[in-house]
């Protein structure tokens, strides 16, 4: 999948790497700002009781 995306990015290798980094940053931002806050109450990796940390 990742190789397929990389092949289909326009430009030379340098620009493809730049675009890949932008895509990764965008995915991380979506995870940090929306996805993780939404799932955190259900994901208690270290906590038995999510009431107080």
């Amino acid at each position: 999948m990742y190789a397929w995306i990389f092949r289909h990015l326009p430009g030379n290798t340098f620009w493809r790497v730049v675009q890949s980094l932008v895509l990764v940053a965008a995915v991380v931002a979506v995870l940090f700002l929306w996805v993780f806050p939404a799932v955190a109450p259900y994901l208690t990796l270290l906590e038995g009781d999510p009431a107080v940390g």
Partner: protein, 230 residues
């Protein structure tokens, strides 16, 4: 590389990112929110007086007791001199112990406990790790360390007496007389409650770390600032 392999690697990376988010990013956000609350609180105060000479002493007569405020409203700030350089000094104190309060790196005042300066127990909750790590260094407090509460008019100074580690169901640690909910209080106490784990230390929450402090004096803001406040 096969698609299944990529999927598993992606899952692993996302889980790793989640840990980074929880241990780091929640604190970045919470500290910014707490700082904004402190600035808002400070903006309502009269301009600071130059320190009067001679330096003010702590008063030991009955302190003024502020009126109760509504849920989520700011009571003042919490200053723990031992935590300078380690965590937020001062962190906001707000009414209530809901996650919406604690997740903003604030100390939450148990609504059923007494007001600051009042005879009884001024009990506060805070996160140990994540969302600002408010009370992370509670285990470094030693007997005699000051815990200072700043309100719009008054500084209240308490000193740590002892601590204990209890199970989360022992809610009477925040009673007016801790562990004796039916007794009538005679002392002015401050209690910090935060998460603790017997196996994971600051990273778990199967137990609660409770630190008790007793009132030693107060100072009108107009008279100066306690020695240990920087």
């Amino acid at each position: 590389m096969g698609g299944v392999g990529e999927l598993f690697i992606t899952l692993g990376v996302v889980l790793g990112l989640f840990v980074v988010w929880q241990l780091w990013w929640t604190s970045v956000e919470a500290n910014a929110q707490a700082q904004a609350v402190v600035q808002e609180f400070r903006a309502t105060l009269p301009p600071a007086n130059p320190a009067p000479a001679p330096a003010a002493e702590l008063r030991t007569d009955d302190p003024p007791v502020p009126d109760a405020v509504g849920y989520g409203e700011t009571i003042g700030t919490l200053v723990v001199p031992r935590w300078y350089g380690l965590t937020n000094n001062a962190m906001p104190i707000a009414e209530g112990t809901g996650m919406d309060v604690l997740d903003r790196a604030m100390a939450g005042h148990y609504e059923t406990s007494q007001q600051v300066g009042e005879v009884g127990n001024f009990a506060l909750a805070g996160h140990r790790r994540t969302h600002g790590n408010s009370f992370r260094h509670v285990d470094e407090l030693e007997e005699g360390d000051q815990i200072i509460v700043e309100t719009a008019e008054t500084w209240y100074v308490y000193e740590v007496t002892d601590h204990e580690i209890v199970t989360p169901d022992q809610v009477d640690v925040v009673a007016p007389v801790p562990h004796h909910p039916d007794e009538k209080p005679t002392e002015r106490l401050l209690t910090l409650t935060t998460c603790h784990s017997l196996s994971l230390g600051e990273y778990g929450n199967d137990h609660r770390w409770i630190t008790y402090a007793t009132f030693v004096g107060w100072m009108d803001r107009a008279d100066g600032t306690p020695d240990q406040v920087r």
